[in-house]
């Protein structure tokens, strides 16, 4: 479904993403892990067509993101690191706008907005101005925006950041419920989240993939019980190598 081929991104001289490749199969959830500055956001921005790669390419069900931007963007729902919200709009106005941008036909827009609000449970704040919402609700509105056109692919950059534990669990359940119909890539720092929701994990550090497997296999291979240990191990391992 999503194929990432030898992706490299340079910001000037700085190498942010270094020749990474992986695939995500249809209906699967891939957890994208890495410490701060590893290149997660950069990779996601390339997948969503926000910016072009320096080298390599990304395809969504066989279509190259750089060559067929309109087609592939239509298949993707994206929640950026900071939810892209217009603070002056009400939730409903905003989702209406997002839906139209994502090519939901005029006739179906009302239904799409209702459906998205239902899924992320924001019906009670539909008529509120976004700037008046709590952080958790803002995050949900961002999520609603990402799923409004029922995209095949969902790219979620730290979807549970800034949420309280109950909300985190809710969003996690929501993401799980979305899998199957959607193919999902989500980045996170919260390791239990990956354990619980993801079918596969890719761990990157300094732009390079340092591990890639199912959460189960990873624990088996490394002989560790929790992903957290593995993660810390891997990251500090490569840290000591550099010395």
């Amino acid at each position: 479904m999503i194929q990432i081929n030898n992706l490299t991104k340079r910001y000037g001289e700085f190498l942010a993403v270094d020749d990474i490749s992986f695939n995500v199969e249809k209906g699967k959830i891939l957890g994208f892990l890495g410490p701060n500055g590893a290149g997660k956001t950069t990779t996601m921005r390339i997948i969503t067509g926000f910016m072009p790669p320096s080298e390599g390419f990304v395809t969504i069900s066989g279509h190259d993101v750089s060559k067929e931007p309109l087609l592939t963007k239509n298949k993707i729902g994206y929640l950026p690191e900071t939810p892209p919200l217009y603070m002056d709009m009400t939730v409903e106005e905003y989702l209406n706008f997002a839906g139209l941008l994502k090519q939901v036909p005029n006739k179906k827009i009302k239904y799409a907005v209702e459906n998205a609000c239902l899924k992320v449970d924001i019906n009670d704040v539909k008529n509120k101005v976004i700037k008046a919402l709590s952080k958790g609700y803002k995050q949900r509105v961002g999520l609603a925006q990402a799923i409004i056109h029922e995209p095949e692919v969902l790219i979620l950059d730290e979807p549970t950041i800034g949420l309280d534990p109950i909300q985190i669990r809710e969003v996690r359940d929501l993401i799980k419920s979305l899998a199957g119909n959607h193919t999902i890539v989500l980045s996170t720092h919260i390791l239990p989240e990956v354990d619980m929701t993801c079918d596969e994990v890719v761990i990157i550090k300094k732009g390079k993939i340092i591990a890639q497997d199912t959460p189960k296999n990873l624990s088996k291979k490394m002989n560790k019980s929790s992903l957290e240990e593995i993660f810390i191990d891997l990251i500090s391992e490569s840290r000591s190598e550099e010395k």
């Binding site: 926000f50 072009p52 994206y78 950026p80 892209p84 217009y86 997002a98 994502k102």
Partner: protein, 260 residues
């Protein structure tokens, strides 16, 4: 087309969900109103003087040209005032979206950069046109109490609107280059001021330079419109300046993707 309308709608409504539109339009009408008042009152005084003199000399009152004495200076003033309010209209267009991250939504949606730029341009332009046309009450007062030629008034409005399109293009372009609204407004104002003053430089230079400066001047091209002379060359200047600045805005958004 549908995408342009989507962008346009949100943009245009956003003007009215903050005080911006009301402040800009209010300021514009107050300033133009003050000038209209000053122009008419000095005209009335002048004509009263003439009548009194004519009566004293037992002569007929010499004809006075309302178009020349009120309409023309009125539109010159309006055109100058637009240079001050256009930066306020365009300052948020791209800067705000860059700062809040909503540009990321636009640029990852299945719409083209051209559609984004054109949609935003049309929204700012419509606000400008509404604002400019609200001044129709001033010419109307003159039409009711005086006997001006109507056609030159219409032509002056074409000039005001053409000049606005070009100014708004400049504003959008500057806004696309910064995420700071204040810098966006100041930058736009400085460029507009330059395009306004550059006409004066032509007085101090000669030959080709002088012609060139004159050609650049955004106000120089307006002079004929305010006199009621319709010249497609001047209109072409505004149209090409609008086109060029929108192209530059497009390029700056695109290059943002490459650099960021």
């Amino acid at each position: 087309m549908k995408n342009i309308i989507t962008i346009f709608n949100r943009e245009f409504r956003s003007y009215f969900s903050s005080p911006i539109a009301y402040i800009v339009i209010g300021l514009f009408l107050v300033l133009t109103g003050v000038f209209f008042y000053l122009l008419t009152s000095s005209f009335l005084q002048y004509s009263a003087n003439l009548q009194w003199q004519a009566a004293r000399m037992r002569q007929a009152v010499p004809p006075m040209n309302v178009n020349q004495m009120i309409i023309r200076p009125l539109f010159s003033n309006i055109s100058v005032i637009t240079l001050f309010v256009v930066p306020m209209i365009t300052m948020r267009t791209f800067s705000d979206e860059k700062k809040s991250g909503t540009l990321e939504l636009l640029l990852t949606s299945p719409v083209t950069t051209t559609q984004i730029v054109v949609g935003k341009f049309l929204a700012s332009f419509l606000l400008y046109v509404i604002m400019a046309l609200l001044t129709w009450v001033y010419p109307l007062v003159i039409i009711i109490y005086g006997n001006p030629d109507i056609l030159p008034i219409g032509i002056a409005y074409i000039g005001i609107i053409g000049m606005g399109a070009a100014s708004i293009g400049i504003g959008l372009w500057i806004s696309s280059m910064t995420e700071n609204q204040i810098i966006s407004a100041m930058g736009t104002f400085v460029i507009l001021l330059f395009l306004w003053l550059v006409g004066w430089f032509s007085n101090f230079t000669s030959g080709g330079f002088s012609e060139f400066f004159k050609y650049l001047s955004i106000i120089e091209h307006f002079n004929d419109f305010s006199k009621g002379i319709f010249d497609t060359g001047h209109l072409m200047y505004y149209v090409s300046l609008s086109g060029m600045t929108l192209f530059l805005a497009h390029q700056s958004i695109e290059s943002l993707r490459w650099r960021s």
